[in-house]
Symmetry: C2
Subunit: 322 residues, 2 copies
């Protein structure tokens, strides 16, 4: 992948029309915020632009997605935002995996799958980069675009709680508020609003909490049975993986999320000392230092034992005991 400057990125986008902006599968707030924010800005410059994702976007992002009317066109320029590797372009739209023209991302683990791109691992959210690109394209940021960008920033920094949050993160957030973003509302909707089903599924998951290594590691399970009992949707369970790390003294929080029979999605969260992307890489996964994931096959007990043993080792390593 040829690495471009921000100005070149802006120039490439201005040179093209009929632009398709791809999100990663299981889209989160940063994916949605980047894709919709960029498309809104591109349309303001008179271009056709549409976001595309293999999975449905949660209805809680409706205040963003409802602001971009459908457009139908033959894509001429394929852009990815917040996508670290081609396989994260989901199954439903996998025809685009090999023909991405431009990649804009903030994952240090980016595989360079596109023709050209820009990767800034110092940006807490990819939306911070998108804000700079929009500015360099000379497009105005209206309140809808500002809401989209703000959502990406706030969600990918865990409401400014992750260690990826910089003064630049706050300054772009401030700019977005001046452009009309309703930051307090967005933060409340994303982080402080629980459905009753969420309350219930959280209660069930928290009951499974087990501590290891003198309370430095906490593990919870989220099973299909719990989802059934609480009637929780995919959206209702978002962010549950941050709960174990919240307990005082916990350095690594792990969530075992049952996918299929004997197949668990592991989410690991760290307070900063332990690099959980390395932990997850041992099982073929990846992510950031403070938040990473992987898939492990086995029964709940087997999987819990495997990931816990690896986490105990990882904690030992940072304590210098190994």
């Amino acid at each position: 992948m040829k690495i471009l400057t921000l100005n070149e990125i802006a120039a490439r986008l201005k040179e093209h029309d009929n632009i398709l902006v791809l999100m990663h599968k299981s889209p989160d707030g940063d994916a949605v915020g980047c894709a919709y924010g960029l498309c809104l800005a591109l349309r303001q410059l008179g271009k056709n632009a549409m976001p595309l994702c293999s999975d449905a976007i949660d209805k809680k992002y409706g205040y963003i997605t409802s602001k971009l009317p459908e457009q139908h066109f033959e894509p001429q320029y394929i852009v990815t935002v917040d996508i670290a590797a081609a396989h994260l372009i989901g199954e439903e739209i996998k025809q685009y995996r090999e023909c991405v023209d431009l990649c804009i991302d903030h994952h240090g683990s980016n595989t360079g799958f596109a023709k050209e791109g820009y990767v800034d691992a110092d940006s807490g959210a990819c939306a911070e980069i998108i804000a700079k690109v929009i500015e360099r394209m000379g497009a105005d940021i209206d309140s809808d675009t500002a809401n989209a960008i703000f959502t990406g920033i706030s969600t990918d920094t865990g409401c400014f709680k992750y260690s990826n949050t910089t003064s630049n993160t706050y300054r772009i957030a401030a700019d977005m508020i001046d452009k009309g973003a309703d930051g307090a509302y967005i933060n409340r909707i994303m982080f402080d609003t629980k459905s009753r089903a969420r309350l219930e599924v959280e209660r069930l998951a928290l009951e499974t909490m087990t501590f290891f290594d003198d309370g430095k590691i906490a593990v919870i399970c989220l099973t299909n049975k719990m989802r059934e009992l609480s009637k929780a949707t995919e959206g209702d369970t978002e962010g549950i993986s941050s709960l174990p790390r919240q307990i005082e003294g916990v350095k690594v929080g792990i969530t075992l999320n049952e996918k299929d029979e004997n197949q668990f999605k592991i989410s690991a969260r760290s307070t900063g000392d332990v690099d959980v992307s390395k932990l997850c890489a041992r099982f073929g996964g990846g992510g950031h230092k403070g938040a990473a994931g992987c898939l492990i096959a086995g029964t709940l007990e087997e999987v819990r034992e495997k990931i816990t043993a690896a986490a105990i080792e990882a904690v030992k390593e940072i304590s210098g005991e190994v």
Copy 2:
């Protein structure tokens, strides 16, 4: 109270020495952040300065309080920060209630109890004002001062989730991070760290949740029995009052916090539509539009009925039904 400009506030502080900075009783993050941040800056200018509070400061603020060694002096200038009325200067230090020289505050309900003062109700946190005062005094902000100011900003805006959060809030937060504040750490400690006792007391309180008015009002109780069972300290129960408002559809969240027998401290939180300071004023209390409190005497059932009836009326008013 004679209203001063920010420059006059800075000048007054520079003119004096042996300055005592008072916090309100039951000090929160903004009280602690303002008092310690201001004292650190005053000492940097060569002055004697000490914060004082009638109540103990929670140990979670240790990263702030440990940075200011004790000083002993005869106070010559009495300053209050984040204090809206003289009675909020607690019993233990009530001798200062009638002799406050300078009041720096952000409560619109400030009673003007001091000789001179500055009140800016547009500041989400009083610490935003303190940051401006420090700048105008020409004192450098080191990382300890920055941590204190950041703590005030972050805690009083509920981690940037309350409607009092402005772009200025974010910009001052950004400045504090550039000065060395560890914002992500502070936000995690203040909002994302739970002791096991907190987990337990939260579970007990959430079990009492009752909904009124089609789910627009949610009420929880926090009793002395719950504190006993969970072994929760004062610090463990902080912020519990924000839980009922977090449920989807809730416009007013109310927490009944048992103080003495037949005496309840009511905390009311609003998503922004209902002005809960008016609601609490009906019972002799006050606060901000989005967060207010009052004391009501009676049994739990009586108190719940009184405050709920008033809240139902308040919701009707904003719906235009009255």
